[in-house]
Symmetry: C2
Subunit: 104 residues, 2 copies
């Protein structure tokens, strides 16, 4: 099992997190992850090419919003809710509420 | 007195609001407005040229984060806290808290 590089909780940058959330597709990805929990990489039914989707996941991962776990050829993505809530209390909840997702 | 064009509350777009907040200088401007209330345009002591500052205010204004009021040659800027809280409850509070500003 290989873990893709991602920032530690104390390396999160608020502006980078807000930027990662400032795109409608990335917001939708985060909304679905909040709703469904960990998902395999290819199961996100959004209107974007594979390359665009990879880019969006990279922006989200580098900002600290998501965790990518690799198992063989498969990648599983989850929201770093606990880390985000610890660093920026209330932020993810407010964004998800504004994006029309159910709360916790 | 002239009022600069800005979106109505129901025209706010979440992604645009998050984008407007995703720049360190704009975050600092919002933090100061939250702290001090309405301020004259030239009184923001931040590291940016006048043109850059104008651009930042434009992004913030078009997203619905700030209100610009003109009186003669002076412009006064305030945070649209009530409108933002109504549209995206908890969002501004969480962002300000994360940015190190006092709450309400």
């Amino acid at each position: 099992m290989r873990v893709v590089q991602q920032p530690e909780r104390d390396q999160f940058d608020l502006a980078a997190v807000l930027y990662a959330l400032s795109d409608p597709t990335r917001l939708e990805l985060v909304r679905r992850l909040a709703q469904d929990g960990e998902r395999a990489c290819g199961t996100f039914d959004v209107c974007a090419t594979k390359a665009t989707l990879s880019h969006h996941f990279k922006v989200l991962r580098e900002a600290g919003l998501i965790h990518t776990r690799a198992e063989g050829v498969y990648r599983f993505i989850s929201l770093r809710r606990r880390d985000l809530d610890a660093r920026f209390p209330g932020l993810l909840k407010a964004v998800l509420k504004a994006a029309g997702a159910p709360g916790r």
